[in-house]
């Protein structure tokens, strides 16, 4: 399967991935309405310490431990390998956040879980990848 991979040597720390993710998942057509003066809840985030920057989003693990801990059955891995979240089922217990080794789980304003679903509902190429100005975030087949 194609995955989002992150190459920190190319990351500028611009945080555009966060804005593009929030916009793509807002359901709105107007970027200004989606982002301006809004508290955004992107499913990708940049970690940095001044020298180093890189983006973190769901790894769609081969054997996702988040699913093993999900108390509501909201997290599922599809036949396509994409780990998705069912917001009708999620109760916001955050067991997945307690288990994800990479810190990829976040929450929305209603405290249910948000995570990268590879933009399967938004188009062919994830918005973070499309908007990355320096190809630090790539959508590619990765050998296991």
């Amino acid at each position: 399967m194609k995955r989002v991979t992150v190459h920190e040597e190319w990351c500028l720390g611009c945080h555009l991935c966060e804005y593009n993710c929030a916009f793509a998942n807002s359901g709105l057509a107007d970027m200004v309405k989606a982002l301006k003066n809004q508290k955004i809840t992107p499913r990708i985030h940049v970690e940095e310490d001044g020298r180093i920057h890189y983006a973190v989003s769901c790894r769609h693990c081969e054997d996702p431990i988040c699913i093993k801990g999900c108390i509501s059955g909201a997290l599922q891995k599809g036949a396509d390998g994409v780990v998705t979240i069912d917001h009708d089922k999620c109760v916001g217990c955050l067991s997945c956040m307690l288990l994800c080794p990479y810190g990829c789980i976040t929450t929305d304003e209603n405290e249910t879980v948000l995570k990268c679903e590879l933009c399967v509902k938004n188009g062919d190429i994830p918005a973070c990848v499309q908007g990355c100005p320096n190809r630090a975030i790539v959508f590619e087949e990765v050998q296991t």
Binding site: Y54, K68, Y102, G103
Partner: protein, 412 residues
């Protein structure tokens, strides 16, 4: 090959998955005491709260048992004949097995209490049927008294608050969540729950009952309409013990989820196994462990090879916006060093022993706490990492570029 699974919760359905990952054909029989397909037990409080619909609590799709080619018998196992490899049921049937997995979970523990028989509306809170029964018993004018301020009692309180007039929780322990929180952390949680409208009477419990009144140990009286008994649980291990199986407080299993009896495996809330953060066996009755242990048992029952060799206790729980997470071992260990980070609305306590993170308590800022859980589960040597970078915020920064290239740039 004939597989029999006693119990029908998350450990049991994960066991079925494990068996089927190796053996697509052998016959599987599940013996289910409850009259429901496997459901997520922690959802029973969210059902009361209205966050989970009754039709959404099940662990698997409706056709799971059929598509896994798995029979379900609704009865209760009462004995095991280990010589002839068969399970005796309450309904008189005897079910032969080649490989057996015990996933019987636990039952509410209710100690003898004076006058309890005079209380009409009393419930335990462990099954979805308990949830349905409590729902029937309450009205918007009900005063609910919950005995037990542990995970079950407090989740019940959260589920009921908006549906009744009042909820009071009492516990003989002087603090809430005494099994997972220390005094200071428990005080933060209790204050939050009080602000959310839950009443407490701690260090105090019901001495006796007279109808709808609890006479408390401290001499006070608490009137109630509905009583919930949430004093803890005991693993369901009686028939295994009688068959001569090795038990401590629960069924003892190794990393392959094998019991002391040939051909018999066990998983879920009814087992105790090696806790790598603690260095000894103990009960870790938590959903991730039930799933991981159940799957491991299934694979090994079917002749495959799997180990669940990194079990640790872990809890993620929240009440009305305040989240807390704990993992590993952190109580009563003088040899562990504690590092504390305190924020305005947050407290983090990390427990380090022999250069390894062995446990943590985080209240409030729980973001990305799985990074810490992973350090415990992998027993990583953390001496090379900058302690400040490690504990102030949970990020992948301390672990270096190579680790990030592997995890963020590859397949994990």
């Amino acid at each position: 090959m004939k597989y029999v699974i006693i119990g029908n919760g998350p450990a049991a359905v994960s066991c079925i998955d494990g068996i089927r990952s190796v053996d697509p054909d052998g016959s599987i029989t599940v013996i289910s005491k409850e009259d429901h397909p496997a459901y997520f037990r922690p959802l029973i409080s969210y059902y009361l709260e209205g966050k989970s619909k009754a039709e959404n609590i099940y662990c698997r799709r409706a056709d799971f048992y059929e598509s896994s080619n798995c029979g379900v018998i609704h009865s209760e196992a009462v004995a095991i004949d280990t010589d002839n490899r068969s399970v005796m049921l309450k309904n008189g049937e005897s079910i032969p097995y080649d490989r057996l997995c015990i996933c019987t979970g636990s039952s509410p523990f209710v100690p003898p209490m004076k006058g309890l028989e005079t209380v009409e509306n009393k419930y335990t809170f462990l099954t979805v049927d308990d949830s349905f029964a409590i729902e029937k018993a309450i009205t918007k004018d009900s005063r609910v008294l919950i005995i037990g301020a542990g995970l079950i009692g407090l989740k019940c309180a959260e589920g009921l608050r908006d549906r009744v007039q009042s909820v009071t929780v009492c516990d003989l322990a002087p603090r809430v969540l005494s099994s997972i929180l220390d005094d200071e952390c428990a005080a933060i949680v209790q204050k939050h729950l009080e602000n959310c409208g839950i009443g407490f009477s701690l260090g105090n419990t019901a001495d006796r009952f007279d109808g709808n009144t609890a006479m408390m140990k401290d001499g006070s009286e608490i009137g109630f309409d509905v009583l919930v008994l949430a004093l803890g649980v005991r693993p369901n291990i009686g028939f295994f013990k009688e068959a001569g199986g090795a038990c401590g407080r629960a069924i003892i299993v190794d990393n392959e989820m094998k019991t002391s009896v040939d051909g018999i495996f066990a998983a879920g809330d009814c087992v105790e196994q090696y806790d790598i953060s603690f260095g000894d066996k103990r009960i870790m009755a938590l959903l991730p462990n039930a799933n991981l242990g159940g799957y491991t048992a299934g694979v090994n029952m079917a002749g495959g090879s799997a180990e669940f060799d990194n079990a640790v206790p872990m809890n993620s729980i929240g009440f009305w916006g305040l989240h807390m997470m704990t993992a590993g071992t952190y109580a009563n260990d003088e040899n562990a060093q504690m590092i504390e980070e305190k924020g305005e609305k947050s407290i983090k306590r990390f427990f380090i022993k022999n250069n390894r993170l062995v446990g943590f308590i985080i209240i409030g800022d729980v973001k990305s706490a799985g990074i810490y859980t992973n350090l415990i589960r992998t027993q990583a040597d953390i001496s090379a990492y900058d302690p400040d970078a490690l504990t102030k915020n949970a990020t992948l920064l301390p672990f270096g570029e190579n680790y990030r290239r592997k995890t963020l740039g590859g397949v994990v």
